[in-house]
Structure formats: C-alpha cells, structure tokens
Assembly symmetry: C2
Homo-oligomer: 161 residues x 2
Amino acid sequence: MTSAEALEILEGYLQKKGLKTTAQRRLITEVFFDPRFKHDHPSVDSLYQHVRTRDASVGYATVYRTVKLLVECRLATPRQLGPTDKETRYEPEAPGEHHDHLVCLECGFIVEFENEEIEALQHQVARHFGFAIREHRMVIYGNCSRADCERRPTAEARPTP
Amino acid sequence: MTSAEALEILEGYLQKKGLKTTAQRRLITEVFFDPRFKHDHPSVDSLYQHVRTRDASVGYATVYRTVKLLVECRLATPRQLGPTDKETRYEPEAPGEHHDHLVCLECGFIVEFENEEIEALQHQVARHFGFAIREHRMVIYGNCSRADCERRPTAEARPTP
DNA sequence: GTTGGTGCAAATTGTTTGCATATAA
DNA sequence: TTATATGCAAACAATTTGCACCAAC
C-alpha cells in the first residue's frame, strides 16, 4: 500500500466521521507509509523523529492522536514485538492483509510471514472451544542465521537470558 | 506446579545468586501459585491485592521486584493478552510446559490450549527463514459462546472455566 | 557483622488530556 | 462562522529507584 492509497483511505474515514484533513495528518501518514520506513515497525517516538525532519513544528501529541486515527481506520496495527519492549510499536497495514512475525532475539531482525495452514488450524482450535475468531497475533522468537547477526544489537528484542 | 515446588525452584535460584529467601518472597510466590488464583493471569496490582489480604505490610515495590525474580527463574511469564490491556499480566509457568491463549474480546474469558500441529508448522516456518526457534507467543482473539458472555466486561473478573 | 531486602516516597517513562489558539470546512 | 485540530504543558498510570532502616545469612 502506497502513501497515496493510505491517504485516500484516511481522508475517507475522516470525512465519514466529520473530522478534518490537516497538513499534519497528511504528513504523518505519508511518513508512516514511506517505503524506506514502513517495515520498521516504528514506535510513536521514532515516527515523531522522522516527522520532525520534515516539519519540526509538529507536536508529540499530534503524532499520538494521528496514530490512534490510523489504528481506528485499520491503516496501522499496534504490536508488542520484542518480549521486553516497553513502547508500543505500529505497523502499516493494508486492510485485508495479515502476517505474523519472526523476531531474532540476538539482533532484533524481523521477518514477516504468512502461513495458511497455521491460520486454518487456528480456526479449528477456536471452533473447538466455541470461539468465533476475529483476529490473532503470533510471534516466533529465535535466532536468525544472518551473517551480521549480533552486530546490530537493538534494545528491542532482548529478554533476560 | 504446586506452590511448594515453585518455592523450591525459587530458593535454589536465590541461593545460586547469593540472594536471600525472605518471608515476603515466599508469600508472594505462594499466592502466585495458589490453585484458586493461578489461572487468572494476574497483573502485579492484582497480585499485590491478594498478597495484602495475607500480609498488609507488604509494599508494592516488593511485589514488582519479586515478580521480576520469578520471571528470571522462569516461574512466571509476562503476557499482554487483551489487545487493549495496559498492565502487563503474569502467568505461572512450569518449566518445559507451554500453551497458547484464546481470548474473548467481549468478556475477557481466557482459554489456554496446546496444539502440536501448529507448533510443528511454526518450526517449519522458522527453519524456512533460517531461524532456530527459542519460543513463541500466540493469542487468538474472538467471541466466546458462553451463556454469560457480556455480563463480565472486564478481563479481571473472569470465571473459572 | 555484612550484605542484601524492605517499605516508602519520589522519579521515570510512555501516553493522554485540558486549554488557548489556529485552521479546515 | 463554527466545529475540530494543534502545540504546549500538565496530568496520568505503570513501573522503577534512592534511601534509611531491617533482616537473612
């Protein structure tokens, strides 16, 4: 999903709700869907930093409020990847799509994947317990095999050993 | 796992680390593994409340510090069930065991389950991306079919299955 | 007696909110 | 024109920490 498509969805949502399209909301959405940035699962703070490089007058609260709007119209999903992460991180979403995550406990490297067999089994389990599935979250933690694993230790994915 | 077994593991851990076994640590562990309580996935606050009914002099900080110890020796796992939960909740663990969760979005009802087929597929996916699995977290959200669903709107006040 | 533990209150951190002003519709 | 948005600072809520006194070893 491109920034332009996301903006269209956002504007439709705002209109429907009688809310206003502002320069800040457009900028934040644009940055959030920036191809160079959209796989970062950014925290609000990280998004705020990027936004500030393009308009230093934008306030922290506005970023929080806009991210909340993006979540409401399903353009963003809150995630708690790293088992030790304190901040909530957000991921750009195309409505209808879904994927899960593999997270490297050493270097924080994240892989997104989809697996229909697992999804089918989840529905089966849910049905067995009388649940109607609305959504699910699955994160697999492990060690990746990239050559430069360990060389980029990030704060994000480090549980107590 | 009984309170007694948990206590034994904790005391072993404390000894190994040169830390001390105190009445508070014993009490908190006992309450955390109390059979009437151990499936509640309690928050630190909820655990604190229960502990206070048995010793009103125990402080909030001590409960936090003790829970941290329990996590370190793998007797507790931090969870963020409810997509809207603010507080971290903790679950008593028997080392080696594992289960996932079904959470009702309406009433907060939680079912624990295990599914070997899903676990096998997770390993397959991980291998495909060159990851060695260390652990995983899976939560399925949906609507349960219990007769009194909706009547218990908070995740804290949950029935025993 | 020494080292680590506790309770309290104060500090920190991520997030939200009240308010006066600014801006889209 | 009029409702909604913004930026700022203050408020909040969950969690952590500094410190003087206590208690396990």
